[in-house]
């Protein structure tokens, strides 16, 4: 009688055999160790694939079909994040050659431009991605606003988003100094003096010697009285270390909250309005669900499943990831093509004795610079603070539900937006035309106290007019949403118009010109 040999236990095989087997299986086991769920082919393995990955589990496992419509988000958030990723990668690369010390910094920029392999290309991408990031942040914010995405439960994420806006602008601004050329030097000199501009107020009130927040801010920013080596190293530290860390942290919270707040905002009746699934699409929850998502994750407020059922969700893997990867590659494409077509600017070496004329800040600050040309404090600090406060308060002051998830949802719909656009554009153009044609208080009465101009200047006048218009719409529609839409639209129009004027129509000595070709040669 022979007994069938027992399957060899691990101990039974010689150690050397085991070693050889292990060696042979190592690649397979390594793969299994990395991706525990196996190939994401079934619904379950896809879900596991998503939530067992640190990077993917910021997404929910399933995503609503409404959110995947291009018109829902236009991919703006992903594009902005992708641009940030690009600046991160290219920025780290630039750090191989950049030397943060005055004059030497400029020479290292020249080296990057002329001799570093791929240096010029990488720098161009960095510059373009930074610009796209700024544009993306603004557009993303507008999208969220106009689709009512700030409403509960997303109030906090709206505020995080504002933080991201501020940090993004801060990153761009600090990066502006690093090339140490004329453009950089004078833009930052202006920026630093805007930081000092609360003195305008404290001086007028004779408080500066007791309480000088402006001077302190400037000192903290520059580490000195003028832009110099201390300022450069501070800006460098902010640009490559502090702000990117803050931004990454906020971005993580921001994305995580998107998921925890129930995904992208969508209308309450989104399910009814979607086309039925094409038969070829992989079926979704054809069986009775064994569990619902509000059991799987404890989320306050509306969850993707509550009341709607999961019928209109699809697995994030792969549907969402195709969309995200598509937007990501599109961003790269845009940056790469722009980088091929146009080099990032680099002017003459910074010269503290000869100001650039006109000395212009980065383009996204030129709207502010236009306001600053009347009152440094109001334009540079006062009005931005009012705007940021206003934006931050929107989700708490406007708590209606009608129109959530709809583009331009709310009373009046698109008409409210168009009307606000007309008012916003008309007002800012009228005020600017008046100022350009007739000047402002200082030109008429040179001895008028600064406090009067600080209080009454084109910036504050515009703000006041916009606020009045908004109040009027609140009354007309008996809706806070209408007022919010009016205010947001007006400020957006004002910002855009002022920026365009600052970029294109302002020349040496900040005078008005129809075109830069008319600038007198200085």
């Amino acid at each position: 009688m022979s007994v069938a040999p027992a399957p060899p236990t691990p101990e039974a095989t010689p150690a050397l055999r085991r070693f050889a087997d292990n060696l042979r299986h190592s690649p397979q086991r390594f793969r299994d160790a990395v991706v525990r769920s196996g190939a994401p082919r079934s619904d379950r393995s896809r879900s596991t694939f998503v939530f067992s990955s640190l990077f993917l589990h910021l997404h929910s496992v399933r995503v609503h079909r409404w959110s995947l419509r291009w018109s829902a988000t236009m991919g703006l958030g992903v594009i902005t994040a992708a641009a940030f990723f690009l600046t991160l990668v290219t920025g780290i690369l630039l750090m191989f050659y950049y030397k943060p010390y005055p004059d030497v910094a400029y020479l290292s920029m020249k080296d990057i431009h002329f001799v570093v392999p791929t240096g010029r290309f990488i720098r161009n991408i960095h510059r373009w991605a930074a610009n796209i990031m700024v544009v993306g942040v603004f557009l993303h914010m507008a999208r969220v606003f106009f689709t009512g995405g700030y409403r509960p439960p997303r109030e906090f994420n709206w505020i995080i988003g504002m933080g991201l806006l501020a940090v993004t602008l801060g990153l761009s601004f600090t990066g502006y100094l690093l090339p140490w050329d004329q453009l950089a030097y004078w833009a930052i000199t202006i920026g630093a003096n805007i930081a000092q501009s609360p003195r305008e107020l404290t001086d007028a009130l004779h408080l500066t010697q007791y309480f000088d927040p402006g001077g302190l801010t400037k000192l903290l920013l520059l580490g000195s009285e003028t832009v110099g080596e201390e300022a450069l190293i501070r800006f460098y530290l902010l640009h490559v270390m502090i702000l990117p860390l803050v931004l990454t942290g906020l971005l993580g919270v921001h994305m995580w909250r998107v998921r925890k707040d129930g995904g992208i905002v969508r209308p309450a009746d989104a399910d009814q309005r979607l086309q039925p699934l094409e038969p070829s699409t992989y079926p979704v929850f054809t069986e009775t669900p064994q569990k619902t998502y509000h059991l799987a994750a404890v989320v306050r407020g509306r969850t993707p499943a509550v009341g709607n059922g999961p019928e209109n969700t699809v697995p994030a893997m792969p549907h969402l990831f195709y969309a995200e990867a598509g937007a990501f590659m599109l961003t790269i494409l845009i940056c790469v093509v722009l980088a091929l077509l146009k080099d990032a600017p680099l002017k003459e070496l910074a010269n503290p004795a000869v100001p650039e004329n006109p000395a212009k800040a980065p383009w996204y600050f030129l709207g502010l610079q236009e306001l600053v040309s009347f009152s440094a404090f109001m334009g540079g600090i006062g009005i931005p603070t009012i705007v940021l406060l206003g934006l931050g308060l929107i989700p708490f002051l406007e708590r209606e539900t009608a129109g959530t998830g709809e583009w331009f949802g709310g009373p009046g719909g698109v008409r409210t937006v168009l009307r606000s656009t007309a008012f916003g554009l008309g007002t800012v153009l009228a005020v600017e035309a008046f100022v350009i044609r007739f000047g402002w208080i200082r030109q008429w009465w040179p001895h008028v106290p600064q406090l009067v101009i600080t209080a009454i200047n084109p910036g504050t006048v515009l703000t006041l007019l916009y606020a009045l218009f908004s109040v009027a719409l609140v009354k007309k529609y008996d809706s806070t949403r209408a007022g919010a839409v009016a205010l947001f639209t007006c400020f957006l129009c004002g910002y855009v118009v002022l920026t365009i004027i600052g970029v294109h129509f302002r020349g040496p000595n900040w005078e008005f010109f129809w075109s830069p070709s008319q600038w007198p040669v200085h």
Partner: protein, 560 residues
């Protein structure tokens, strides 16, 4: 839901990005200008050298000069260790110069953007690069970045020295500025006399003349005995003045000599010496063409062309310029442009400063020779004329002809010296003895002596009278002045066509004899008539009447 659309988006953006990246890679690795140039260079090389030659970026790094000059990435023949392709404009070896490019880099002399690796950017003909390359025609202007050429005489003196060198046949044995040294008295195998082209920098034996004489008298070589003739002392001085200026930058020194003949320092400062009426020119050669107004400049937008056009018509190129149109010849304009381009200052560590710059900036050595003629040419000629004939420019009051024998016949040396020292403000004559960038007392004496020589040696009248002796009746004088003088000299002596007489420095320095004699004799060649003699239209003034006028003029001294 856009499942297919998203996949398409991903696919096509990825492929387009791949193409764009591929193009970027190709552009960087194959199309870069210096790569194309170096491949061409390789084709020009003999096969043996071509095999060794690697296409790669090249540069000359000189840490002390902050130079990392990549010019040699295209001008490969000038890279250290490269042989170059003779006769090829781009690939030739650098001409043999005193400063080895391998040791000093390129931009320290030639300007331009050393860090750039593209033609336009490297040559600096791009926006946002303030220092374009010095044009090849003016290449020696680059010397001015570090050197300050000292004791450069006026042009006529240089020309005189050169004529003497020719006349005395020095070039038979010596080489000078690339000429001569053809006869070899010592037999075959080389030039007997040393090359004199840099003798001003290297220094030379001040006893060269006795040495030459002794050599002539003792040498057995026939050529020595026959070819060296005696040279007069003043000719030797002229030759030495020329030799001092031979520092290996012949054209530039000649250009500077033009500057020292045209009286430019009368209005402009260079290195802190000169007048204040015009802009300081110390670093004018570094001007950024991007910051210049080319609206009224014909031709290329280059610094050289801007300067040339400005010399042709100053007030057109720079609106409101007080600089007169001198009517310079094109040759002079070219020389002045050359010199202007050389006015630059590289920020060298002092260890790198050449001796001449140390002497000029630390010990106050003069850039012009200290002889009266050169001083006059340097400071005075623009207004008073090269020979003291006095200049007349459109829109300006005529400048006095101080070479006028009638003037020199009555103006004493003391008067000349006082006028030069204290000037005649508020007129344009600066106080050269009092101003910061002015003349030193000894130099003023040289100028006075030179001015004296312009009048054909006329020595001033010396009647032994004190400075103030006139005791005329100022009231009579006032009437006479109103009738005869006020038309030109102004009602209250404020001047007009004629000199402003109510000028405190004039009245302080001029003696009564000077005033009386000027009125009596007049000044031929100018509008000032001799009132001591009559004409068909007016009678002669009596001596007492002249004295009365002087007394009236003197009355302004108390109440200007």
């Amino acid at each position: 839901m856009n499942a297919r659309a998203n996949k398409h988006l991903l696919l096509w953006s990825s492929l387009a990005t791949l193409v764009a990246l591929g193009w970027a890679a190709y552009r960087e690795n194959a199309l870069q200008e210096w790569r194309v140039v170096q491949r061409d260079y390789k084709r020009h090389l003999p096969a043996a050298n071509a095999a060794e030659f690697k296409v790669q970026l090249r540069q000359i790094v000189v840490p002390n000069l902050h130079a990392a000059d990549r010019c040699v990435s295209c001008h490969v023949g000038m890279a250290p260790g490269e042989t170059g392709v003779a006769g090829n404009a781009l690939f030739a070896h650098h001409p043999n110069v005193f400063h080895d490019p391998g040791e000093f880099g390129c931009t320290v002399c030639h300007g331009g953007q050393g860090r750039a690796t593209e033609r336009a950017a490297a040559h600096g003909d791009v926006p946002n690069w303030p220092q374009p390359m010095i044009p090849r025609h003016y290449a020696a202007a680059g010397c001015g970045g570090c050197h300050t050429h000292l004791e450069v005489p006026r042009l006529a003196a240089l020309e005189h020295g050169k004529n003497l060198v020719e006349r005395n046949d020095c070039l038979a044995c010596h080489k000078l500025d690339g000429r001569g040294g053809t006869t070899r008295p010592g037999g075959a195998g080389g030039m007997e006399g040393p090359d004199l082209s840099r003798v001003g920098a290297a220094g030379f034996d001040r006893d060269w003349y006795p040495h030459h004489l002794a050599r002539r008298d003792t040498s057995r070589v026939r050529a020595w005995r026959t070819s060296f003739a005696e040279i007069a002392p003043e000719d030797r001085d002229a030759i030495e003045a020329l030799l001092v200026s031979r520092v290996g930058a012949a054209g530039l020194v000649e250009a500077k000599a033009v500057f020292h003949s045209r009286g430019c320092r009368g209005c402009h400062k260079v290195g802190g010496v000169g007048g204040d009426d015009g802009p300081d020119l110390t670093r004018i050669g570094e001007m950024d063409p991007g910051q210049r107004n080319f609206t009224h400049v014909e031709g290329a937008h280059t610094v050289a062309n801007w300067l040339a056009e400005h010399f042709r018509k100053p007030a057109v190129v720079v609106a409101g310029s007080a600089m007169p149109e001198f009517g310079l010849t094109e040759k002079d304009i070219d020389a002045l442009v050359f010199y202007m381009l050389s006015l630059r200052r590289s920020n060298l560590p002092e260890a790198y400063w050449p001796k001449d710059r140390v002497r000029a900036e630390r010990f106050g050595a003069r850039e012009f020779s200290a002889d009266g003629a050169t001083l006059f040419g340097t400071f005075c000629a623009a207004c008073h004329g090269s020979n003291g004939e006095g200049m007349r420019y459109p829109g300006m009051v005529a400048f006095p002809a101080i070479g006028n024998p009638d003037f020199l016949g009555i103006a004493s040396d003391a008067f000349l010296k006082a006028t030069i020292t204290h000037g005649r403000r508020p007129r344009r004559m600066p106080a050269w003895g009092e101003s910061e960038g002015g003349l030193r007392p000894a130099e003023i004496d040289f100028v006075v002596a030179y001015v004296r020589s312009l009048g054909g040696g006329a020595s001033p009248l010396d009647d032994g009278k004190p400075a103030r002796w006139v005791a005329g009746d100022a009231r009579i004088g006032a009437a006479l002045y109103a009738a005869s003088c006020s038309a030109c000299h102004g009602k209250n002596g404020e001047g007009g066509e004629g000199t402003a007489l109510a000028n405190p420095t004039l009245l302080r320095n001029a003696t009564d004899t000077y005033l009386v004699e000027t009125i009596r004799r007049g000044r031929r060649g100018s509008s000032m008539l001799g009132f001591g003699t009559g004409s068909v239209t007016r009678r002669a003034l009596a001596q007492s009447e002249i004295e009365a006028i002087v007394a009236h003029i003197r009355s302004w001294e108390a109440h200007p």
